[in-house]
């Protein structure tokens, strides 16, 4: 921290928008969190931002769930129950668990804390251009890879190019859309189609420790995107060496290395030895063991109950009651933008009639779904996938549930006699997904829609998740609403499971991404949200809280909205 502060002081230049933000914050137009978040994004150091904010706001936010009174102890092994999934190339990760293992050995340019504030990490600072189209990242000096090489701009450039290489297939493509261009390509039959390719020269190595990226259009959330879980910075030779982090754990800069890894069983991370010198504060734990307790969530809690693990990755909602009643176990909870989004592909019958989709939205009782399926733990949402906990959220007028109108719409669409639809659900995150659909089934039944619940095994669900007409997909938390909308609803992005395609939406989203002015941005976001809501491409009833449970002897641990494991300060009090 101190180092960062010094760097900032040396830096001298502050983004011109920071002053406006300070102004807004002082006037009370901007809440504290938003101020911190935005100013840090614009390059102000977190410390400086906090210092500034604190002058106006007496209460300090707790960065982690509880500030530990006791002195941290070094050493010890943390055993965490979590699925040990197959991992190879962090760039193509599609699941947070994978990144949690690699997060201990590979680091990111930036780091977003549980407070949604993004701080420097491998990039000791970043400087956006005034138009937010050019971002200069200053790479921290003296960062060592596990193999002894020093981190340079080359490594960063190689990584960014890999993310955007269509042959790699990273979801970063959706994140860094503004670095892409549509060019002519060919599909497998030789037909001409448009394919997205990185704009030549959009990544630029300025010097050995400076990388600059050029965007087509402004994007405020670039630093946050740099902490998106596939964006781990790896050694430049990573691809040549097989693009498998489990085989080459020394190609990361993190403090730990992977010593044992068996998919479905265990991953053991140990503090890097040899001549390795970690650039930051040494972590407290000697070893981190991820123990796979299977796909069955109860097994995880059972393991925690019987002391086989000290923490579990996530506490299934169904186990909350049990965990709360377990002596020696602490439950951590945080509101997030995680959600079970029941998106609708509007191309196919009967969904190609917008009245059907609207009727579904009107018949759905989002509040009841939250209350019943998720035990009320979360926030009611408004079918546009932007969460009130996200700074760019703009409140929209509430739309009340209206079964009568839904019936009317259905009748208009020619389904007055009833409608039979099916929703796929994979329980990829837990039983609550099915429960949510079951409640929806009841809601829709009131409007004369018969919803069949098609429960399928998780893995099978992932085969069809973006193909079926109507399914419930679990989306994880992202610090900014725009980030999620960018990967999930922009035309043609790989994860656009609703197959949503709206020029208006795309443009608005791009605009929002490049707008720093809070008021203006909120206004644009309102339009973005409204667009999504009006197009009725999803029933997105609520944003859920996530929970995990740890043994009381684990100190300094909390729950990150994205379930990212940031454990450099975690220690064991045995």
């Amino acid at each position: 921290m101190t180092k960062t502060k010094m760097d900032h002081e040396k830096q001298g230049r502050v983004h011109p928008r920071v002053a406006d933000l300070k102004n807004q914050f002082v006037k009370g137009q901007l809440d504290r969190r938003e101020f911190l978040r935005t100013t840090t994004l614009l390059g102000l150091s977190a410390a400086a931002a906090y210092t500034f904010a604190d002058t106006f706001d007496v209460e300090l936010p707790s960065l982690i769930s509880s500030a530990e009174a006791a002195t941290p102890k070094k050493g010890g092994i943390l055993r965490c129950g979590m699925q040990v999934q197959d991992m190879s190339d962090p760039a193509v990760y599609d699941w947070v668990e994978k990144s949690n293992v690699t997060r201990q050995m590979c680091e990111y340019l930036t780091i977003t804390g549980p407070d949604n504030v993004t701080r420097p990490m491998l990039a000791e600072k970043w400087v956006p251009s005034d138009d937010l189209k050019t971002w200069t990242f200053h790479i921290r000096k003296g960062v060592m890879f596990g193999n002894g090489d020093e981190l340079t701009a080359d490594d960063v450039v190689v990584n960014i190019k890999r993310w955007l290489d269509p042959n790699v297939g990273s979801s970063m493509v959706g994140m860094l859309n503004t670095m892409l261009d549509e060019v002519d390509g060919k599909d497998k039959d030789g037909k001409a189609i448009k394919v997205k390719r990185m704009i030549e020269g959009s990544v630029e190595k300025v010097d050995d420790h400076t990388v600059r990226i050029h965007l087509k259009s402004p994007d405020l959330s670039i630093p946050e995107k740099m902490y998106h879980y596939p964006a781990a910075i790896l050694h430049r030779s990573f691809a040549e060496k097989g693009a498998n982090i489990t085989k080459t754990p020394d190609l990361g800069t993190g403090p730990y290395t992977l010593t044992e890894y068996r998919v479905g069983e265990i991953a053991i991370l140990k503090r890097r030895g040899g001549g390795f010198k970690y650039w930051g504060d040494d972590p407290l734990l000697d070893e981190i063991h991820y123990i796979d307790t299977g796909q069955d969530a109860a097994a995880g809690l059972a393991a925690l109950a019987s002391g086989q693990v000290d923490a579990i990755y996530t506490l299934d909602l169904t186990l909350l009651g049990a965990a709360q009643n377990m002596p020696g176990v602490t439950v951590h909870e945080v509101t997030t933008a995680q959600t079970g989004c029941m998106r609708i592909q509007g191309e196919r019958a009967p969904y190609n009639d917008i009245r059907v989709r609207q009727a579904m939205q009107l018949a759905a009782d989002n509040e009841q779904m939250l209350k019943t399926a998720h035990q009320g733990r979360g926030q009611v949402a408004e079918n546009h996938h932007v969460c009130a906990c996200q700074p760019d959220y703009a409140p929209l007028p509430k739309i009340a549930r209206n079964v009568g109108k839904a019936k009317q719409l259905l009748a208009d669409a020619g389904h007055g006699g009833g409608l039979n639809i099916t929703c796929n659900v994979g329980n990829t995150n837990g039983q609550w997904e099915t429960d949510q659909v079951v409640v929806l089934k009841q809601n829709l039944a009131e409007a004369g829609i018969n919803l069949n619940v098609n429960v399928m095994p998780a893995a099978q669900y992932w085969d069809v998740w973006d193909k079926a007409d109507f399914s419930l997909t679990v989306w994880t938390h992202r610090p900014l609403g725009t980030m999620l909308l960018g990967v999930a609803y922009r035309t043609g992005v790989p994860w656009n499971e609703a197959k949503y395609s709206s020029k208006e939406f795309d443009d608005l989203l791009t605009q929002a991404e490049s707008t720093v002015d809070i008021d203006k941005r909120h206004k644009i976001m309102a339009k973005v949200e409204k667009r999504l809501q009006d197009d009725a491409i999803m029933i997105q009833p609520y944003f859920r809280s996530v929970m995990n449970a740890t043994s009381d002897k684990v100190k300094g641990i909390g729950v990150h909205p994205t379930n990212y494991h940031q454990w450099n300060k975690v220690w064991i009090d045995s």
Binding site: G321, A322, T372, D435, N454
Partner: protein, 297 residues
């Protein structure tokens, strides 16, 4: 005399079979376990039939989540067995769940039996190539561990009521075929079969009229056991999340949905466990009793 003519029909009809079945069940009185089993099964059958009348609540309605057994509901009524995590009355779900299980299990068993009996008759009566081909096919199916087979089938074709019936039919028919084949191999050497052959009866007639009715004893016993096993299978599939689609109450599914909460709300899991075990026990005891009685006969 003429009324005798009316009552007598050339081949045994369903009515006759039914009366005979009733008679053989009447023999059960002599077996205490058999009576207990029949009682359990009958209990659940009655529960299933009267479900809409006796269930205190709508099994799908979300009323009051996680109520403990005996909780009074604000809008009237009592959750005698509590409610589940979605606030659905467990008693009502168990009551309606009996409909599900007593619909799918017997249906699947009937299909399995139809196929198994046809295969067994063909193999056991014709022998030769029929036998070799059918026996080998069934050997191969039977050489799969049965649950593995179910999981592969269900995971491949998806889980729905029909698919579960298909899977159970597919996986149980060979076992039934073996039993039928064994019985047919014995029965086909009976002199009344030879008598039918010597009067030029068709194979189908001999198989269905002369042989099959006489194999019913062991088959009924086996059917009871198999029903129990099918119920377990449906339960296991539900437990593994491959069962009948929610929200219709299915005991295995109920256990699966709530078992994680079993340590804090044991009622959600234990009552469906008791329900399913008691029904299986009923069928097993019934089979035992029938076997005992048939041996004594």
């Amino acid at each position: 005399m003429s009324n005798i003519v009316e009552t007598v029909t050339p081949a045994p009809t369903l009515g006759f079979a039914f009366i005979r079945a009733i008679k053989s069940f009447a023999l059960l009185r002599e077996s205490t376990p058999g009576m207990v089993g029949a009682g359990l099964v009958l209990f659940w059958v009655i529960v299933a039939i009267l479900a809409p009348l006796i269930a205190p609540f709508d099994p799908l309605a979300t009323l009051q989540p996680m109520a403990k057994p005996g909780t009074e509901f604000v809008k009237g009524g009592t959750f005698w067995l509590g409610t589940d995590h979605l606030g659905r009355d467990i008693l009502s779900r168990i009551i309606f769940g009996s409909q599900t299980v007593l619909f799918y299990a017997p249906l699947a068993t009937v299909f399995a039996y139809t196929l198994g009996i046809l295969m067994g008759l063909a193999a056991g009566y014709h022998l030769g190539w029929w036998d070799i081909v059918l026996s080998r096919i069934s050997d191969i199916i039977l050489s799969f561990p049965v649950l593995v087979l179910y999981i592969i089938i269900i995971a491949t074709i998806g889980s729905s009521g029909i698919n579960i019936i298909i899977a159970i039919t597919f996986a149980s028919a060979p076992g039934i075929m073996r039993i039928v084949r064994g019985l047919v191999l014995d029965l086909r050497n009976r002199e009344y079969v030879a008598a039918a052959q010597t009067r030029g009866e068709s194979s189908l007639y001999i198989m269905l009229v002369e042989i099959l009715p006489n194999a019913r004893g062991p088959l009924i016993v086996d059917a009871c056991l198999r029903l129990g096993y099918v119920i377990i299978t449906i339960g296991v599939l539900g437990f593994l999340g491959l069962g009948l689609p929610p929200p219709d109450p299915d005991w295995g599914g109920m256990i699966n949905e709530t078992r994680k909460m079993a340590m804090i709300f044991p009622h959600m899991t234990i009552f469906p466990c008791i329900a399913i075990s008691s029904l299986i026990l009923g069928f097993n005891l019934l089979a035992d009793g029938l076997r005992e009685v048939s041996l004594r006969d």
